[in-house]
Amino acid sequence: MTAEHPTVAVVRFPGSLDHDSAARAAAQAGARVVPVHHKDDALPAATTAVILPGGFSYGDHLRCGAIASRAPIMDAVRAFAGDGGRVLGICNGFQILCEAGLLPGVLRPNRTLSFMCRQTTLVVDDADTGWTGGHAVGTELSIPIKNHDGAWLGDPGEGRIVLRYDATNPTGSHERVAGIANRDGNVLGMMPHPECACDPLVGSDDGRVLFDALIGAISVEAR
């Protein structure tokens, strides 16, 4: 079972919003998806990858991602990441990973100081993390953003920039960072929503590469 259908844990916090679509996208890529509650203190035994989905956990109160990053399940996620397990944080999930110290930097309000929902063009910047499939550096992906605090700020040297925005850099992110991984490359946070780009009918299926990577990389390791 685990070889063809690796178990992907999708963690749900109060105020998570994109967990269902992220689960759908992971399942489409071949995963067995297991929802995990924020108050749980362990990941399912067979977990081979974790998704922290988008949303407004705890209403974005205090600082986005801050309260969720202190939830009981996060200790398990931290341990899982420490063992080299793949963790994908999307939007609020990215904010949570930064607040949890698993990724460098912080996410600040967009340069418009308003919420921004639009399709964006991302450019692959590091093809060696395993997150972008076989796509070479410079490959463009069309994936939407939808966030209020989407401008990453930090020291890129503390991680690996996997995806950048094209020159329009809509959120005003430092170094046009759209997605950044930790130095080991197994934890990725990205503001754009690949789960909203897994079906040409909803605008694009370029986001599938990330879910395929989540699964593909795992099948390689599992062998």
Partner: protein, 726 residues
């Protein structure tokens, strides 16, 4: 203070006659708490006392209607045992006082109506009206209302997929903020509000009760806004985070079959929720006010009963399930859930505080027996015809065209919808910016098309025709996406119906909407009325906002409004007589707009859906504000490609280009599909307009050639609203 000297019932907004009626119905004098409850439940906002007799005229039946008006929302069958529940509601007066929180809590309120049906909200729309953007006040209201709607919708994870915004000086003192919500639910999962089962418990779920909006929405919405500070309630602050938890929690409890009945707490709070649940169920309810969780140290029974604290729901639950319900709310969703009373035999609503009975009235008196008033029916004189000779025909039509494109009412609304998450759920197939939005029903291959529309100038000039025009425009928008119009909800935003011609206009608009609904087979399943939208200086136009839902059997067959490829043929479908009367080009409510032609509208909608089903359309776009030239421009901008067209001249070129009327849409198709489409069209007129291609929008009227580069048009269209706000 002046109000101190008024008799109590007048302070509360009851007329002398109403105050005399209460003891007659009750058989004794009401307690002060009861009087407060009556004053709210008998307000226009809660009782519809000035509009109820007229609303009866709407057609509400149809084979696909599962729930018509009267519940928290209407519901229609969408196949495979699934239903779609939807409703639109106004939050005009609170938004005028505090636009961010007013608009945000408006969204929260309509979402709870959908939750109360047992449905999962899947889409939101908003219909907005403000004064001209040259007014600082209107800019502020517009900016803050949009931010508030975005804040709430984004935070609860329901995509805001569409809506409309219009600007006219008549809304300067009375902005309109209407929100519509659509949810999905299995037929057998539809919940209703009626209390059932003597001995069942009443569980209050969600936020604590505070002094929010005491006497607020209901009193405010029932009288013209004055500067009377005393009438200003404490503003409700939105808490979308709690709403999302409430949404998830109610879905979970409904799934487990733990609800006997469910009702949201809106205007008049616990009073309205409990009296309606009791009255609908033909049973009594007992509430122990000492058990209601409070945010303040001390609140009077009346305050607890009429508090409009947001993000609360009232559920009827079997006694054996109470423990499970409370535990799930608390442990899984971090929500308060409190047993506050029970269903009892009889018909009375009884509330106790400190062991004493403070309220004991037949629930029906509060919920159903408010007085009903016939509003005066004074027909407005027919408007004077438009003197075309007095409307200067501009020498440079391209200039006029660009100017029209950059009018805020016509210009791109990207500044608005970019602040709304219109993608969450990953089922948005047609995004805002076109005609209707298309949203896939989760887990299926079907989709709904949704839109809100109005024709307020038309309604001002000719209310019956205008009411019909609003419904037909909504239907065209839905049909352009390939969907078949199914049903409508509506929000009747009007001035004071007791004055002038407003009562008559209200009746006429309802009659016109009903005509159109009957012609299209789209019954009214829900709605809302907002009256008294006027100040000493200004009255709003009659603004009946129509929210329509249409169905697409195959989500993959939906059609967008954008031209796509060079060489595609452009056809003008349908017929109408474009006029400048009441048009956006004219910019004022003057003259006689073209009355809608029901048979053409119906045939056009059918054609568009059939053509989409057959996979023959590349694009379809209805012609509305700004006329043919604007519709062509929007299709060209949408596809970033030009078009060359030829149109027969009429007495004036500006009438041909910018004149408005219903019954028309522009489609594009591959050249080899044209023949098929003409066959499908039957008697419906299909005139060849031209060909897609190039980077200019060229319109040849007789021997006059007018042209705009697509890029210049796009620039004017996109820049208008951001620049008006800068």
């Amino acid at each position: 203070m002046r109000t101190q000297t008024l008799p109590r019932h007048r302070q509360l907004g009851l007329t002398d006659w109403e105050a005399e009626r209460i003891p007659q119905l009750l058989g004794r004098d009401p307690t002060d708490t009861e009087l407060v409850m009556f004053s709210l439940m008998w307000s226009e906002h809660c009782s519809y006392k000035h509009s109820k007799p007229l609303l009866g005229g709407f057609p509400t039946d149809g084979p696909h209607i599962l729930q018509g008006p009267g519940e928290n929302a209407g519901a229609i069958d969408v196949g495979d045992g699934m239903a779609v529940a939807f409703k639109i509601e106004s939050h005009n007066h609170p938004s005028a006082v505090e636009p961010f929180e007013g608009a945000a809590t408006g969204v929260g309120g309509i979402v709870r109506d959908i939750i109360a049906m047992g449905a999962r909200p899947i889409a939101l729309l908003d219909s907005l009206r403000f004064g001209e953007l040259t007014s600082a006040k209107s800019r502020f209201l517009f900016r803050r209302a949009v931010a508030g709607i975005g804040h709430y919708g984004n935070c609860i994870g329901v995509p805001t997929v569409g809506g409309e915004v219009g600007f006219d000086d008549c809304y300067e003192d009375s902005c309109l903020v209407n929100a519509m919500c659509i949810g999905v639910v299995a037929h057998d999962g539809i919940l209703r509000a009626a209390a059932k089962g003597i001995g069942n418990r009443l569980i209050l779920v969600g936020n604590k009760t505070g002094r929010d909006g005491i006497g607020g929405a209901s009193v405010l919405a029932s009288a013209e806004l004055s500067d009377d500070e005393d009438k200003r309630p404490s503003v409700q602050v939105s808490d979308p985070f709690t709403e999302r938890k409430l949404m998830d929690c109610c879905a979970d409890l409904a799934q487990r079959g733990l609800f006997v009945a469910l009702q949201d707490l809106g205007a008049a709070g616990l009073t309205s929720a409990s009296s309606e649940m009791a009255s609908k169920g033909g049973l009594g309810l007992e509430i122990d006010l000492d058990r209601v969780p409070l945010r303040e140290a001390v609140m009077s029974p009346a305050e607890i009963l009429v508090s409009e604290s947001q993000e609360r729901m009232l559920a009827v639950v079997a006694p054996g399930d109470v423990e499970a319900v409370v535990a799930i709310c608390r442990d899984r969703f971090d929500l308060d859930a409190t047993d506050i009373g029970q269903v009892v035999a009889g018909d009375r609503l009884r509330a106790t505080a400190g062991g004493e009975i403070v309220v004991d009235v037949p629930a029906r008196l509060l919920a159903d027996d408010a007085p009903v008033y016939e509003v005066p029916q004074n027909p407005a004189p027919a408007p004077t015809p438009l003197d075309l000779a007095a409307v200067p025909e501009l020498a440079d039509l391209a200039d006029a065209w660009l100017e029209l494109l950059s009018r805020p009412t016509i210009a791109s609304k990207r500044w608005v919808y970019q602040q709304y998450d219109h993608l969450v759920g990953a089922d948005t197939i047609r995004r805002p910016g076109g005609d209707a939005a298309v949203v896939r029903l989760p887990g299926t291959n079907r989709a709904i098309a949704v839109t809100t529309d109005c024709a307020e100038r038309h309604c001002q000039l000719d209310p019956r025709a205008g009411g019909a025009a609003a419904v037909f425009e909504a239907a065209r928008n839905v049909a352009c996406t390939g969907a078949r119009p199914a049903a409508i909800t509506n929000c009747l935003n009007f001035p004071n119906p007791e004055k002038g011609h407003t009562g008559w206009r209200l009746a006429q608009v309802i009659a016109g909407m009903s005509d159109a609904c009957l012609a299209l087979g789209t019954p009214v399943v829900s709605g809302n009325v907002s009256l008294y939208n006027e100040s000493a200086k200004r009255m709003i136009f009659p603004t009946p906002v129509v929210g329509m839902v249409g169905l697409l059997e195959d989500a993959g067959r939906s059609v967008g409004h954008a031209f796509a490829q060079a060489g595609d043929v452009v056809l003008l479908m349908g017929t109408g007589e474009p006029r400048l009367d009441g048009s956006e080009y004219l910019g004022r409510a003057e003259g006689h707009p073209t009355p809608p032609q029901a048979d053409i509208e119906v045939a056009l909608c059918r054609f568009l859906a059939d053509a989409a089903d057959a996979g023959l359309l590349v694009s379809a776009h209805d012609i509305s504000a700004g006329g043919l030239a604007i519709a062509l421009t929007e299709s060209a901008i949408g596809g970033a490609i030009g078009v060359t067209t030829q149109i027969a001249p009429a007495e004036r070129h500006d009438v041909v280009l910018f004149g408005e009327c219903g019954g028309r849409a522009i489609i594009s198709c591959r050249p080899d599909a044209e023949h098929h489409l003409r066959e499908l069209a039957g008697d419906l007129s299909a005139a060849c307009l031209g060909v897609v291609g190039g980077d200019e929008i060229i319109i040849q009227v007789g021997d006059t050639r007018v042209a705009l580069p697509v890029a210049a048009a796009d620039d004017a269209y996109e820049r208008a609203i951001p620049e008006a706000l800068a």
